[in-house]
């Protein structure tokens, strides 16, 4: 039946033309790591300039290009593609399907990404420089007052959006139609659930982002005035449209991370996930609520008080399902038999640090208090806690967890643990002091600061350098594992692991589940 498959093709064309979900997943993961290094380099430049008060290394205009590109590359180039790559690798295996529903569109979803980022990065070298209006690109700074490269930026965002939409359609079609017989929705691994819900969010809001940048394009080049008061438009309209996309976007970033953690913690607790059903409902509630809270990013814009109150109440509500998830993870650990290999260490880091980020998020949701927090480093600290210690730690855990299944070799456990501890210390040193300077009055997106903020900024920069350096250790560990790690052929790498992916050979064969398994 499957004898027309001869394994993967040879050479470069294998990667160019592959429709295999494992190959495409691998390409997404390597691409996203390269973007992580690129975005990380921009961060190193930012933190180097902020190491001391005064301008030492770059000019303010260039600094703004760095903060803008750091945000864009990390969100759209590193985090999102990495989880898409994970989805590609794992979802078919987890549901017992041979591949994704649309393998050729899958190839396209990946291959339009490198050109899009090449286009974005090229803006650093054109006249007027790269976009410098922040990853949130508010009008009219991003329209009337933008550099010429804004048009490349808009085109790049369109292509990125297209990639995400195609990828999400693929994931939904796969999960809805290709589950093995017996795998009802409520038997799916939670990682598949979180990705299914995330994919619906993406299909709903990526087009809204496309709409926003199209309106920018029209204002800049075709004489419309969507965001310009002169022509009867309104800059605040941009903010509403952007954050209508932007808030679901942050849940798009974190929900798959929740899914990963929900797979790994039960394994190393040797105990089933606590409250599977409510985990599903909580994820769905978070997704639904994410559509009605967007203006909490805009509390100081001059909204009528009734609007502010509505958005405040709705935002505070999100704490409930999020809390449920945290309690369920801890209950999974409770009275389990715990071991702390590297994937579990990163999940423990996630649990503590993401929760701290959730607490600062709750503080930020309180509108009157936010009048003091908004656009300060307190916000920067919050979102780095949830995005780095949340999403990135989760992705790192996922790589350590599934790498043996992917390549049939074990990574170096001591190096992995060292990577965790250095990351943990570096991350907290980088971002915890930012809460203080934010509360003390330091605004964000500034290249230089008043003297009272100096000590904590220096600490923060040192922490950032440490965290950055530790990622090199991670890269080394991954490459060394693939090239010369200790071979393993245990189907179940981890004693407590459950799920279809742990029933197949290690490393996973090029084609898996060509015959669907029976699921009880």
């Amino acid at each position: 039946m499957g004898d027309h498959h001869h394994g993967p093709a040879k050479g470069l064309t294998r990667w160019l033309f592959t429709t295999n979900h494992k190959d495409i997943g691998t390409m997404y993961l390597w691409f996203s790591f390269a973007m992580f290094i690129l975005g990380g380099s921009f961060a190193m430049i930012i933190r180097a300039e902020l190491f001391q008060p005064g301008m030492q290394l770059v000019e303010p205009a260039f600094f703004n290009q760095m903060t803008t590109l750091h945000g864009l590359v990390m969100v759209f180039g590193a985090i999102m593609p990495s989880f898409v790559g994970l989805a590609n690798w794992m979802i078919p295996m987890m549901i017992g399907a041979p591949d994704m529903a649309l393998p050729r569109m899958n190839n396209w979803s990946f291959w339009i990404l490198p050109p899009a980022f090449l286009l974005l990065a090229s803006t650093l070298f054109v006249e007027g420089g790269a976009p410098a209006f922040g990853w949130t690109f508010y009008a009219p700074l991003s329209t009337t007052y933008a550099p010429p490269s804004v048009t490349f930026f808009i085109f790049s965002v369109h292509v990125l959006g297209l990639s995400s939409i195609m990828g999400s359609i693929n994931i939904i079609a796969t999960v809805m139609n290709m589950r093995a017989p017996g795998m009802t929705y409520m038997k799916m691994p939670l990682f598949v659930w979180t990705w299914l819900i995330t994919a619906f969010l993406l299909v709903a809001v990526m087009p809204v982002l496309a709409g926003a940048v199209t309106m920018m394009l029209m204002d800049i080049h075709f004489g419309t005035s969507f965001f310009s008061a002169a022509g009867g438009g309104d800059p605040v309209l941009f903010q509403h449209i952007f954050w209508f996309f932007g808030h679901p976007e942050v849940y798009i970033i974190i929900l798959p991370a929740f899914g990963v953690v929900s797979q790994i913690i039960p394994t190393f607790s040797r105990k089933p996930l606590f409250g599977y059903d409510s985990m599903v409902y909580a994820t769905a509630s978070i997704a639904f609520l994410s559509f009605i809270v967007w203006a909490h990013h805009m509390y100081t814009v001059g909204m009528p008080v009734a609007g502010e109150l509505f958005f405040m109440y709705a935002t505070m509500l999100i704490a409930v399902p999020t809390g449920v998830k945290v309690f369920n993870w801890i209950s999974t650990m409770w009275r389990g038999a715990l071991t702390f290999e590297t994937p579990m260490l990163f999940c423990m880091g996630f649990l503590v640090l993401f929760t701290i980020g959730g607490f600062t998020g709750l503080m930020l949701s309180i509108a009157p208090a936010d009048f003091q927090y908004h656009d300060s480093y307190f916000v920067v600290a919050h979102f780095h806690y949830v995005m780095v210690a949340g999403a990135v730690f989760s992705m790192t855990a996922a790589v350590y967890y599934w790498l043996p299944k992917w390549c049939g070799r074990m990574y170096n456990e001591s190096m992995g643990k060292t990577h965790f501890w250095i990351s943990f210390i570096g991350f907290n040193l980088a971002f915890f002091p930012q809460h203080f300077v934010g509360l003390a009055g330091m605004p964000r997106r500034i290249p230089d600061y008043a003297l009272q903020f100096a000590d904590f900024n220096m600490m923060s920069s040192i922490g950032a350098f440490i965290y950055g350096a530790s990622q090199i250790m991670f890269l080394y560990n991954v490459i060394a594992t693939i090239v010369s790690g200790k071979p393993t052929s245990d189907e179940k790498t981890w004693e407590g692991a459950e799920g279809l992916e742990w029933t197949i050979a290690t490393p996973a064969p090029y084609h898996t589940f060509e015959t669907p398994p029976a699921v009880r």
């Binding site: 509500l317 389990g336 656009d375 000590d455």
Partner: protein, 384 residues
């Protein structure tokens, strides 16, 4: 033994992190502003209410965090496989799940009540005694005191920290990046209403100790208010990315007694009259150059460069305009270049300063034109 130590280390670090968050909740830097850990209640009742709300939420989060992490660390230590435990198999409990959905919901309601009343306070702009129109520019603020009649007192407020401090060739002063040439002056114990808008892109006016932050949006007007109960100098910054010098357009508010405020206002109003007198004078080239250098650094340098070499703006050194016909140069300084970033500075500085800076540009940077502009020339040019 190694693994034992690792686990204890993790526990210790977790404990330290928790302690840090507790410490940050309780410690207020005394006096000196260095390394402040917390928000300041400032000098307004509203600021105190916001601070109290902030601390309430923070403490609730700390307590919940201690409980949750406590359970987690307990489990990490006592439920380790290496202690020989057998894992339990339970994986649901409807009772418990309902409890930890409902209880947080009630805690949130408890938070929402004081939050609502404090928010309503922020929006209450009624019965102000003084109105100030604040306009955000790239990259400075303009303040206009709205009176009932006549010419409003109006001035621009630019960063005063010299480039030498920013580029590390001079030691930084105590109020580095938080000092301006013309602060806002308001009387103590007086409700002041701020009307906030912008000239170009979105800015945001933020003075933490007065508990005021509001976005400045071009074409639209926002209003907010403050009531300072203590005299003093309060410093803030622009809080919305607005271009390259977003970090270099601070705010300084002097809260003074009613008498001092009246004096200041009177002085500002007669400043206009003084400028009129200065206008009739003829200055020497040296006087114009000295004054013009200061004006150049405040108002032109950001775009035209410390040596007139240009940057965001065109070069002044050896430029056709600065070495060309005087009238054309004056025209551009006063009326700007519509359609470009060169603003109409005629409305932003008095005629004495305009005369000085045009003279400076024509004679500095190797231009050496030898001519000069007197304030009356500027006045006459404006009249047409």
């Amino acid at each position: 033994m190694y693994f034992e130590a690792k686990r204890l280390l993790k526990l210790a670090l977790g404990f330290v992190l928790t302690v840090m968050s507790v410490a940050s909740a309780g410690v207020l830097a005394a006096g000196d502003k260095m390394n402040e850990l917390n928000m300041s209640p400032g000098v307004t009742a509203l600021g105190q209410d916001i601070f109290d709300l902030h601390m309430l939420i923070l403490w609730i989060c700390v307590i919940i965090g201690l409980l949750v992490f406590g359970v987690m660390f307990y489990s990490i230590y006592y439920h380790r496989k290496s202690r020989g435990v057998t894992p339990a198999t339970f994986h649901e409990s409807t009772k418990v799940e309902i409890a930890w959905t409902v209880i947080p919901f009630f805690i949130l309601i408890g938070m929402a009540v004081p939050a609502t009343s404090t928010l309503l306070e922020i929006y209450d702009t009624d019965d102000a005694e003084l109105d100030i129109l604040i306009t955000g520019y790239q990259w400075k603020w303009k303040y206009e005191y709205l009176g009932d009649t006549g010419e409003n007192v109006s001035f621009f407020s630019n960063l005063r920290t010299p480039q030498s401090e920013i580029y590390n060739s001079a030691d930084k002063g105590q109020n580095y990046l938080l000092e301006v040439d013309e602060p806002v002056v308001i009387p103590v114990n007086t409700k002041v209403r701020f009307l906030i808008t912008a000239n170009d892109v979105i800015h945001s006016w933020w003075v933490p100790e007065l508990a005021v932050k509001r976005d400045a949006i071009p074409g639209f007007i926002n209003e907010t208010w403050t009531l300072a109960t203590e005299e003093g100098i309060y410093r803030g910054q622009c809080a919305e990315l607005c271009g390259k010098d977003h970090g270099f357009m601070p705010i300084v508010v002097n809260v003074v007694s009613q008498e001092e405020y009246n004096e200041w206002l009177g002085a500002k109003q007669s400043e206009a009259a003084e400028i009129k007198e200065l206008m009739a004078q003829n200055f020497t080239l040296d006087q114009l150059m000295e004054r013009g250098k200061g004006v150049y650094e405040r108002s032109c340098l950001a775009c035209h460069g410390a040596g007139g070499e240009g940057g965001l703006g065109t070069a002044i050194a050896g430029s056709a305009v600065a070495t060309g016909e005087l009238g054309g140069h004056l025209e551009i300084g006063i009326n700007g270049v519509p359609g470009s970033a060169m603003q109409a500075f005629g409305g932003q500085m008095n005629d004495v300063d305009m005369a000085a800076v045009i003279t400076y540009q024509r004679n500095a940077f190797g231009n050496n034109m030898g001519d000069m502009v007197q304030p009356i020339d500027v006045f006459n040019h404006k009249k047409g």
